[in-house]
Symmetry: C2
């Protein structure tokens, strides 16, 4: 008679089960960038009619277009323009969402040079209009993802006294919210917003 341990797994398979349990899903070898994680998450939210969030197309300055035939225009000379806003925005439960998705290989801090002045300015403008504004940060070496509300990013950016060039991970852990990546969606960032919209707390008080 086989005696099964309380977890229902025969003794000879216990070691294997323990190893599988310790292994967290890894997002490092999926061949997708963090931006693609976010885009997939947004598609999921859209398909489930949960939220309507899109990435804004990269702005391009078009200089020359060819028309080899009536229906196919080919752009033959164009230049990348600097975006005047953040990359993502949309609507969730009647509220305006606006955010940037950033990643870093750093293990102890997030470099501020990843932000541009116009993005900070845009975030401030949206905050003034009572939008829900934040940054999603992916520490790729650590496989850790955080939601950080924009007011913290703006404070660090503008804090000229300390002249810090990066936001310490410890600060992000304290003032932000860690997001466990999943499958559907990969980055469930709305769960952070839910926690505050549903609970009625201001996301900007932490």
């Amino acid at each position: 008679m086989t005696i099964n341990y309380p977890n229902g797994i025969p003794k000879r398979y216990q070691k294997e089960a323990k190893i599988k349990k310790k292994q967290k899903p890894s997002f490092s070898n999926r061949g997708m960038s963090f931006e693609e994680f976010i885009n997939q998450s947004n598609l999921y939210y859209l398909s489930k009619e949960i939220a309507v969030v899109h990435k804004k197309p990269t702005p391009i300055q078009i200089v020359h277009v060819n028309y080899p035939n009536r229906s196919a225009a080919v752009i033959t000379e164009a230049y990348f323009k600097e975006a005047s806003t953040t990359d993502y925005n949309g609507i969730y439960k009647g509220r305006y969402l606006d955010f940037e998705a950033k990643e870093t290989k750093n293990k102890t801090s997030f470099p501020l040079h990843n932000f541009h002045a116009h993005q900070i300015k845009h975030m401030k403008q949206c905050l003034n209009q009572h939008g829900i504004v934040f940054v999603l940060i992916w520490f790729s070496s650590l496989q850790r993802c955080f939601f950080l509300s924009a007011n913290h990013v703006i404070d660090y950016w503008e804090n000229k006294e300390t002249k810090r060039k990066s936001i310490p991970l410890k600060m992000i852990e304290n003032c932000g919210y860690e997001i466990q990546l999943g499958v559907a969606p990969i980055v469930p960032y709305l769960s952070i917003i839910d926690h505050y919209i549903l609970k009625g707390d201001s996301i900007y008080e932490k």
Copy 2:
């Protein structure tokens, strides 16, 4: 002694004054398209910290980029992609705004072929999320501008029984709101929204 008429203008200038009064400001010769009117209006609202509304960049499929030197990338082959959303969105008093700006030379109706299925779908999705969704229509031959809430556009688009190919001007006059163009901003569309946000009416009840 000169006797001035009750309006304070001497008799000899009355005719001139009458002509000037009848002339409405014309927007036909300013060399600007309706889209440029909207963009200027959004810049005005942004600069006055009234709202944050931007036009989304045209999405482009980039096929080839040259790097003649480190800092200047040149796109040498790219194609226009069809946008999956409407052209404008943003935030005003905490509410999500989403709209299209369209113009027509027609004098009696607005052709539905100006809309694409994905724009209609996007408008429905945003309405479901309780966004303020609408279309700004410029009848250039008539020099008249209207705000029409999205539910009316969607109803016409989906109304297969009548198989109408356009929205009659009379319907737009009845169900929409005429906007008087001005200078700062040129298209004061937020005044329509104010009338309903401030008054607490649902913009979708008319």
